[in-house]
Subunit: 414 residues, 2 copies
């Protein structure tokens, strides 16, 4: 029995109806959490709570949105929709209205309302806590509730964030380039729920650690131990928990440890002339993570008549795994066709695509390159604290998506 | 210290040099072992030995060969080569020399010598034990040693199998349509190693249980408990162990539990005329597993001029994820171009491709359809009992393949 009553009023948004549980509810997006991070940490005894949660509830795999980047998947998760509907098909796009290269860190680019906003309207006390401030405003479009980041916790005001004195409440905020930046998000979730300040949380972390460390690195095991401790605290509080990731993570290196990059704009210009522009949709303000190198890019062509021969040249290129024209990319990868180029290109498990050597400052990379964006970072874990009911059990074994997580958490329990 | 000395003579085959460990060595291929089977079984406490093996050694993901079928991947594993080199790109192909549809269950189709044969020549006591007899002769081309199946254990003779009285040695052989058929292979491995009859084993199971049961089904958990017990016995014997899978496994059902099939030959003939033949490379003698329905097919065309318009029609088809012409399939999927059709087609995580309703006897299916063959069954686990040395640790975090397993086991240890 819970001490409080929680609003169980159903609400409908973006074509789905949600029945929130009569319990505090938390959806956690562990940024960059390839399933191997969980498996390895569990094998090393670092995640006893998650191991128990998996046995008592559910652990399986879900398919994320492509390209497997942060903004793309966080927008999908908070709306329950693929990028073709959200309009967010990259962290970095060409705005077709202005022709300018822009980061999609503003809710003006988000084309659909969010589950979070609708949950707040229905009477839940919603909180959205993110590590990176870039996601805060984007993911809380029209939401009444609490929204702040570890990165700018100290600056939170009642007016903008729905909360103030965050550091007094939760503790001193850590630097953004740290594992602590993620753990602080979880600690905030625990504190907000324990104090009754929130009962419906979206907690989205940063992949700084996953970019930096492989699953078996001691630093990674310690980080996941930390995540597990907070998940244990949420379990103790009786929180209904759903955990997923925005994307996986793979090493993208040659044998000597240097980045395994195809500088696609340089190569294409050499072959087909200057009228070619490559956009790297991983680009974001957090440069030490990945140097703007990921496993998906989109290509704009001045001369559309070159499209098919360039596509044929690309698919034969070693390290490139999939090539689609705009129309087929919109269908097969569920992308917004007005916000991608004439071609959309994915690369292999250990390969990243770049623009030109000059464009990417690899001296900013602190370690060997680990990154994401392609097909091999598409599948991510989903963990649920409650056993699934019959319908959602069938759904979980079909082709569930990471952006079904609120649906599973609200509607999937027994 | 071991009681015996084992031949550590290096040998070179198919472009790689192997240094077998001075210890009994076993490579296990858990047929159809999607990583979720391990994760779920471990979470339920059913695989304590594998959990310990993962912590003491290595657990990660490797990329299998496409199409993700049994013969394709077992041939790749025993040669260390992709299907483009082995010639085995399906369980079932059109032999371009005769024009006949044939099963690839004979070593006459295998284009390269095996690691097993070479290990036996170098002085190791090699044993190849398989659940399904179809793989026995195929995988032991030119091998001197022991080779038998659970399926036909009772019929083994010294002349054909290098061993006789198998049931006296190992116990009564179980029926092929059972989990016991796989456990018997592992029991044989333990017995042969314990008695000093073999010191270099390849143990390849059957995916009957994975086709039948999802990871969290009690029957599956019990089956994996059984696997884990034998792995524990191998660990106790000081065996150097490598574990991988030939392919993953996913449910391929509609919401009502019926198979989610695209009957591609029927649909294509309706659209483009009768000169179209679809070959289902999953086809094998074991019909209750999957009804010859998998997530990859190849398409032969009488009129090659139709190829590009058919490819365009296919890629727009809901449920179809990838379409390649013969030349690009040979490059991108590493397939033998003379043994595939004019187009090669993959389908989604919950979708299978068939020929026509008449061709597939779905009444043979005992349960809801679970199958494989496509991109979403490509990634499989790799577990190693020894910690990796520096070179192989880097290799493991690049784009390792399931057919690198003998390399990892022989050369990867510290």
């Amino acid at each position: 029995m819970s001490l409080y009553n929680y609003s169980t009023k159903t609400f409908t948004i973006n074509g789905r109806t949600y029945s929130p549980p009569n319990a505090p509810t938390a959806v956690i997006c562990i940024d960059g959490c390839a399933d191997e991070y969980l498996s390895t940490s569990m094998a090393h005894g670092c995640m006893p709570n998650c191991l128990r949660l998996s046995a008592e509830g559910y652990r399986g795999m879900v398919r994320g949105a492509l390209p497997s980047f942060t903004n793309v998947n966080n927008c999908a998760v908070v709306t329950g929709l693929p990028p073709s509907e959200t309009g967010i098909g990259g962290n970095f796009i060409i705005d077709h209205e202005t022709g300018e290269e822009v980061m999609t860190n503003s809710s003006k680019y988000l084309r659909k309302p969010t589950i979070l906003a609708e949950a707040s309207k229905s009477g839940r006390k919603v909180a959205m806590v993110t590590a990176k401030d870039k996601l805060r405003e984007l993911l809380t479009k029209d939401m009444h509730g609490i929204a702040f980041s570890s990165e700018k916790a100290a600056e939170a005001t009642l007016e903008v964030n729905g909360i103030e004195n965050v550091e007094k409440l939760i503790g001193a905020a850590p630097p953004i380039y740290s594992g602590e930046a993620s753990l602080y998000v979880l600690r905030a979730g625990v504190d907000l729920i324990r104090r009754g300040i929130s009962d419906f949380c979206y907690l989205t972390l940063t992949d700084f650690m996953q970019h930096k460390y492989a699953p078996s690195a001691p630093e990674s095991l310690e980080f996941y131990s930390g995540i597990d401790r907070y998940i244990g605290l949420l379990m103790d509080l009786g929180v209904v928990i759903g955990i997923t990731a925005d994307h996986g993570m793979n090493a993208k290196c040659l044998a000597d440890g240097s980045p395994n990059v195809i500088f696609l704009e340089s190569e294409l210009r050499k072959e087909f002339g200057d009228g070619i522009q490559v956009i790297c949709p991983i680009t974001d303000p957090y440069v030490v993570h990945h140097g703007a190198l990921g496993s998906a890019v989109t290509v704009y062509l001045q001369d559309i008549l070159l499209r098919d021969s360039i596509a044929d040249w690309l698919i034969r290129h070693d390290g490139i795994t999939e090539v689609y024209n705009r129309e087929i990319a919109a269908i097969k990868l569920q992308l917004p066709s007005d916000r991608i180029g004439d071609l959309f290109v994915l690369s292999g498990r250990d390969v990243v695509l770049g623009r030109s050597p000059e464009y990417h400052d690899l001296t900013m990379l602190e370690d060997t390159l680990r990154s994401h964006g392609g097909r091999y970072e598409e599948m991510v874990p989903m963990l649920l604290s409650r056993k699934l009911n019959c319908n959602y059990s069938a759904k979980a074994s079909a082709d569930p998506r990471n952006f079904d997580i609120f649906d599973f958490v609200c509607n999937g329990g027994n």
